[in-house]
């Protein structure tokens, strides 16, 4: 198993009730695999899954990127600052 940190903001933070969560995943899990997993368990997340961007260690990555032990994974919904 690998352990990764998930970071949620704004609507997703409220959907999961937490901003930072550590989870165990099967080795070889990809970004899109993780998104499917979360969408299956949270319908607010599911509603946004098509627009979520994934960042690992503060850099956006393709969704088919395999995750590694220790990754810091941020789920970025369309921004609304300013």
């Amino acid at each position: 198993m690998i352990v990764v940190t998930l970071r949620f903001f704004s609507v997703l933070r409220e959907a999961f009730g937490a901003g930072v969560v550590e989870v165990e995943l099967d080795p070889g899990t990809t970004g899109s695999g993780l998104i499917e997993l979360l969408a299956a368990n949270n319908e607010d997340f599911a509603a946004l899954q098509s627009v979520v961007r994934l960042a690992i260690n503060d850099e956006y990555v393709e969704l088919d990127t395999p995750l590694s032990d220790g990754d810091d994974i941020a789920f970025i919904t369309p921004v609304s600052g300013g």
Binding site: V51, G81, G82
Partner: protein
């Protein structure tokens, strides 16, 4: 001194500190944009806004935008400052300032930076209305420039 001043925090620097920083470039034109919590949006009365950021990513993205502006216009100094937390009506959430030798590029670069900040910087805004309703402002990803 570094020509770019980027900051995200619970309080904005004072507007006079922002101007002092930009004036010290000794350029001829300084444009400062303030984004303010507006009283009314689509007929609803706003009570306050609340901002949240992915701070490390947002700071990097603001820096990237300032670097793009620096390549595109002859800017002398840039300030990009954003608050997080609660921002009451009539208070600023964001300050964007640019100093240039001549005024045209100061306007253009300032407008570019606020336009792009709204498209790509990892900050989110929740709107609280006077009638008690609250909602995260819903947007779509826009092409960045």
């Amino acid at each position: 001194m570094e020509h770019i001043w980027i900051n995200i925090s619970e309080e904005l620097p004072s507007i006079s500190d922002v101007h002092s920083f930009l004036y010290a470039s000794q350029g001829g034109g300084v444009c400062v944009f303030s984004g303010i919590t507006r009283l009314q949006t689509n007929g609803r009365v706003t009570e306050k806004l609340s901002y949240e950021s992915h701070k490390t990513m947002a700071l990097k993205e603001m820096r990237r935008l300032a670097d793009v502006a620096t390549e595109r216009w002859p800017v002398l100094r840039i300030a990009m400052l954003h608050r997080t937390g609660t921002v009451q009506v009539g208070e600023p959430s964001v300050l964007i300032g640019v100093a240039t030798a001549h005024r045209g590029p100061a306007f253009e670069a300032t407008q570019f930076l606020i336009d792009e900040l709204k498209k790509s910087v990892q900050i989110w805004k929740k709107e609280s209305f006077l009638n008690g309703e609250e909602e995260w402002v819903s947007t779509i990803w826009q092409d960045t420039d």
